[in-house]
């Protein structure tokens, strides 16, 4: 599935004293099978942007196209679109409501109008994919740990079998172990199912380790868009807008600046390790 944002501007509460421009003239193409990291600090327009991709918000100006069709059209089926562009919000507490985990995960596919059998099949499949133990399936979602709730929330969206999966800060509030598990889960899902994944985050490390494309937002606009190496090469520009580069990149940049022959554009700890060790061996 291909998503295109064409000069999208979004203003909250237009024509009132509270009017606030959250997106300014954003144009993007989101292709198939990529792992995109969307970064930017609070208030940069990330959340507004992702809500345009599944039609929860309509652009004030500009258009969003899904497979060539304008999703703001009156006759466009936005509900079906939301099954194809799955959006997992930051707080699982905002969506868990059923008496047990399994029923909660069934909510999405049921809304797509699938049969009971197909719904349950998909819910079961999704719960397995997110790595939850079968004992959890009939527990109340409110009794689970933070990490488990997050998995149930992701399963609730996965059960709709989306082609594009958008995750808003999926690791916020989780301990390092838990957040690593969630991220590697997402990465493996992306590979196995050939989904497009958009990961909203402000952790540079997370994004650098998994994404093959990084989109940087600032003040409602897209300021950078490229591979991790391309984006993190502009470390100074990133710092200017209040973002940092991954620690590994920073270390190598400083070593490079000090005259040590390492590549300054590494993005992950593994790469940095190789570079630095290689430097000693050379």
């Amino acid at each position: 599935m291909k998503l295109i944002l064409d000069h999208v501007t979004h203003i909250y509460d237009p024509h009132t004293p509270h009017a606030r421009t959250a997106l300014r003239d954003v144009s993007l193409q989101i292709g198939e099978g990529s792992f995109i990291g969307l970064i930017g600090h609070t208030g940069s327009g990330k959340s507004t942007l992702i809500q345009h991709l599944n039609g929860l918000l309509k652009p004030t100006e500009g258009s969003v196209y899904a497979d060539g069709k304008d999703i703001a059209d009156a006759e466009y089926n936005r509900r079906a679109l939301r099954g194809r562009v799955g959006l997992v919000f930051q707080y699982p507490e905002h969506q868990l409501f059923e008496a047990d985990v399994f029923k909660d995960v069934c909510f999405g596919p049921k809304n797509l109008g699938l049969t009971q059998k197909e719904t349950e099949l998909r819910a079961y499949e999704a719960l397995q994919q997110v790595g939850l133990e079968p004992e959890v399936y009939d527990q109340s979602p409110f009794d689970l740990s933070g990490g488990q709730k997050r998995r149930v929330a992701i399963a609730g969206v996965l059960a709709m079998r989306p082609e594009v999966l958008i995750l808003d800060e999926p690791t916020a509030g989780l301990d390092p172990g838990g957040s690593r598990e969630i991220l590697s889960l997402i990465a493996s899902l992306q590979k196995e199912r050939g989904m497009t994944v958009i990961l909203v985050s402000h952790s540079m490390e997370d994004v650098a380790a998994y994404a093959d494309r990084i989109i940087v937002m600032n003040g409602g606009g897209v300021t950078m868009d490229g591979t991790p190496a391309e984006v993190f090469a502009q470390a100074d520009a990133l710092k200017e807008i209040g973002l940092s580069v991954p620690a590994a990149t920073e270390v190598c940049r400083r070593l490079y600046a000090a005259g040590i022959p390492v590549r300054p554009d590494v993005t992950t700890a593994e790469e940095a390790c190789e570079e630095i060790c290689g430097c000693f061996l050379r």
Binding site: D13, R82, G86, F89, H94, F107, N111, L112, G156
Partner: protein, 265 residues
């Protein structure tokens, strides 16, 4: 959801905004009471002029005030209809089973005006006073009730917390709606029963989060040694200033005028 207007405070720097909330509360109350004694057009004229003068002074856009009026339109309509057709007296118009009397027309007009002014007065008060200040004024005003062991401070605290939570919960509602809509939920489809059912995925998370927030708030209050109103001092104690005395005098003049007009005619 953004358009919620309970505690519909309008930020401005008018003389009305600056007044002590007690002045506004007391005067609004007195205004409403005197309205119920008004029984002739002159008294209503005076009350209307006073109300509109207050609207002018408040600098609140008339559009915003009128928006609050919409709520009573239906009530006013019913009142007018009943009074218009069911008051006995000198017949003005008669057709089929309906008769309109002179007294009926007059009562209907006055009733409608009374309702209108009632809402107008309270709107001006809530538009120029923050909910918190209003609660402060209420707490101060209800203080004598303490003799009867009424937990005045606690009631006031509950009111301020409730008011504070309205925008929080409305924002939360919007987030939950988005999260459920992202899973294909629809809140505006089907018949009444289906719609009511579609609210469950919205209400359950909202209740859960309200309870969690309430628990968190209680903990935070205890952590800061909150133990009720006993011996508690205020950050912004209510103190009357010269302008409040002037306001009381102006209002007293209006009240005297009203009494004279009501007695004379």
């Amino acid at each position: 959801m953004r358009g919620i207007t309970i505690g519909q405070y309008y930020q401005a720097d008018s003389p009305l905004h600056l007044l002590d909330p007690r002045v506004k509360l007391l005067c609004t109350l007195a205004y409403i009471i005197i309205l119920f004694f008004a029984d002739n057009p002159y008294a209503y004229g005076l009350a209307t002029i006073f109300a509109f003068a207050m609207v002018m002074i408040s600098t609140v856009p008339v559009r915003m005030i009128l928006r609050g009026m919409r709520a009573v339109l239906f009530l006013a309509l019913i009142t007018v209809l009943f009074n218009l057709f069911l008051t006995p007296g000198d017949v003005l118009v008669e057709f089929w089973i309906f008769t309109i009397t002179r007294q009926g027309a007059q009562t209907a007009a006055m009733m409608a005006l009374r309702l209108f002014l009632l809402v107008l007065a309270s709107s001006v008060m809530t538009l120029t006073t923050t909910p918190n200040k209003l609660t402060d004024a209420l707490e101060r005003g209800m203080r004598p009730l303490k003799i009867f062991r009424v937990p005045v401070h606690e009631i006031a605290m509950m009111m301020s917390i409730a008011l504070r939570f309205i925008p929080i919960l409305s924002e939360e509602t919007e987030k939950i709606m988005n999260a459920q809509m992202a899973r294909g939920a629809a809140f505006d489809e089907g018949n009444v029963l289906k719609r009511a059912k579609s609210l469950i995925p919205l209400l359950v998370p909202l209740f859960v989060s309200s309870f969690r927030r309430a628990g968190d708030l209680a903990l935070a209050m205890e952590a800061r040694c909150y133990h009720g109103g006993k011996g508690r001092t205020r950050l912004h104690p209510l103190r009357y200033a010269t302008r409040d005395v002037i306001a009381y005098l102006v209002f007293a003049a209006f009240l005297a005028g009203m009494i004279v007009v009501i007695r004379l005619f």
